[in-house]
Amino acid sequence: MSGDHRAFLDATLPYLDVVYQVARHAAGDGQEPEDLVQETYLRAYAAFGSYRGENTRAWLATICMNVARSEARRRRRRPWEVPARSLLDALPVARADDGEGVPDVADVVIAGLDAQAVSRCLALLPKPQRVCIVLMDVAGYTARETAQVLGCPRGTVLARVHRGRRRLARLLAEAGVSHGRP
C-alpha cells in the first residue's frame, strides 16, 4: 500500500478536533457529525495530491462545510441548524467507563443546561453571524482563517462575529443564562 495516505493522515489528523467542532454545527438534521468528519477526510484525501498546503485546518473546514452543504441539498434540509442533541452529548467533558474523569452530577447537569441554552440561542442568530461564531469561538479558527473559509474580507468576519456575540449574550440574558465575568 502506498504511503501517501500516511502522509495525508499525519498532516490532517492533528486537526480532527477542530473539524469535529465545525461538523457538529454544520451537520443538518439526520446527519451525524462523525459521518460528516469521515466524509470530509475522504474528500480531502482525494484532493490531497493537488493541495498546496497553505493552511490545512482552514482547507479542512472549507471541505467540511461544502460536504455539509451538498448533503443538505441532497436531503433538501437546511444546513447550519444546531442539532438538538441529548443532554449527555452536549456536555463539554470527557466521559470514561471506569468512573475516572466523571464530573460531579450537579456540574454535569448545569453545564448541560447551559450548553443547551447556548445552542438554542445560537440557532436564533442570522446564519452569517452563527457561522462566524462557530468557526471562531467554538472551533477556534482565527479571523483570517475564517475569512479564508468563507471567502469574505477579514473585517466582515470581525463585524459579524462581534454582532453575533452581542446578540447571543442578549438572548442568553433574556433566557436567564449568564456567561462570563464582568
Binding site: 489528523l13 469535529y20 457538529r24 454545527h25 447556548v118 462557530v134 469561538d137 462581534h162 456567561h179 462570563g180
Partner: protein, 253 residues
C-alpha cells in the same frame, strides 16, 4: 466618540487587536468614559465565552475510524488503477535495434522475479495466502485489529453485550459493510453486516454443520461468518475455537 453604531466595526477591530497602538490607546481611554461602549465590550466577551461552552472534544475512536476509512480508500485507489495489458507499453518502445537489449533485460527480470517469489515463499509462507483475502474480509479484520482492548476487562460470563461507540460504514471491494463493536466477556468483538456474502479467505474452514458458515484466522483476529439473507462476520482477538460461542451471544442482524 459619536456615532457608536458606525464605530462597532472599529470596536470589533479593537477587540481583535487590529488597531495600531495609538488608536488602541484612544479606545482604551474612551471605554473608561463611555458606558455604552463598555457595555458593548462586555456583551462581546460574554457572547464569546458562552459560545465556547459548546466546544467538546472529538469522540474517542473517531480518529481511528477516519484513519481506517482513509486506509480503505487508499487501498481501493491502488487496486483501482487502470489495468494495463502486459507488454503493451514495451511493444511500443521496442525498436528492431533494441530487441537484443530488451531480451536481456527481460531475462534478468524473470530471474529476479523468480528469486523474489522463492524467497517470499520460504520466508513468509502465509504471504501469498494473505494477499488473496477478499477485500471486505480484510477490511473487517483490519478494523477489528485496530479496536483497542478494554482498559479494565471484566470477564463476567453472564454479562450482556454492550455496544461500544457508533456503527461505522465502509465500502471495501465494492461491498458496503456496517460494523458495530461490542464488549462481551472481557473482549471487544466487531460484528460486520453486509447485504452481500463475505467470501471465504484462503485457509478458512467451512462449518461442519453444513450451511454457509465459515471460520478463519487472520493475524491475531479470529473470524466467524454466517452467510444468509444478510451476511454477518464476527471478528475478535480470541482463539478460533471460542469465537462461535461468543458470536452466539452477540446481537447479529
Amino acid at each position: 466618540m459619536d456615532g457608536h453604531d458606525r464605530d462597532h466595526r472599529l470596536l470589533a477591530g479593537f477587540l481583535a487587536g487590529d488597531l495600531d497602538p495609538a488608536a488602541a490607546r484612544r479606545w482604551d481611554e474612551h471605554l473608561l468614559a463611555c458606558e455604552q461602549c463598555w457595555r458593548t465590550v462586555r456583551e462581546d466577551r460574554s457572547g464569546r465565552q458562552a459560545a465556547q461552552v459548546l466546544r467538546q472534544p472529538a469522540p474517542p475512536g473517531l480518529a481511528d475510524r477516519v484513519a481506517f476509512a482513509v486506509e480503505i480508500a487508499a487501498a481501493g485507489r491502488s487496486a483501482g488503477r487502470p489495468w494495463r495489458r502486459p507488454g503493451a507499453r514495451s511493444r511500443r518502445l521496442v525498436r528492431p535495434g533494441n530487441r537484443l537489449g530488451w531480451q536481456r533485460i527481460a531475462g534478468a527480470g524473470v530471474l529476479v522475479a523468480g528469486l523474489a517469489v522463492t524467497l517470499a515463499v520460504l520466508l513468509f509462507p502465509g504471504g501469498p495466502q494473505t494477499r488473496s483475502v477478499p477485500a471486505a474480509v480484510a477490511a473487517v479484520a483490519r478494523y477489528a485489529q485496530a479496536v483497542p482492548s478494554p482498559a479494565h476487562p471484566h470477564p463476567d460470563g453472564q454479562a450482556a453485550p454492550v455496544e461500544v461507540g457508533r456503527p461505522v460504514t465502509v465500502t471495501a471491494g465494492g461491498q458496503q459493510i456496517v460494523m458495530r463493536t461490542w464488549r462481551l466477556a472481557g473482549v471487544q468483538a466487531v460484528v460486520a453486516v453486509s447485504g452481500q456474502p463475505f467470501r471465504m479467505p484462503p485457509g478458512a474452514t467451512r462449518d461442519s454443520g453444513g450451511g454457509m458458515a465459515w471460520s478463519a484466522r487472520l493475524g491475531r483476529v479470529s473470524l466467524y461468518c454466517l452467510n444468509g439473507r444478510t451476511s454477518e462476520l464476527v471478528a475478535a482477538p480470541v482463539p478460533i475455537a471460542e469465537l462461535e460461542a461468543l458470536a452466539a451471544r452477540l446481537p447479529l442482524a
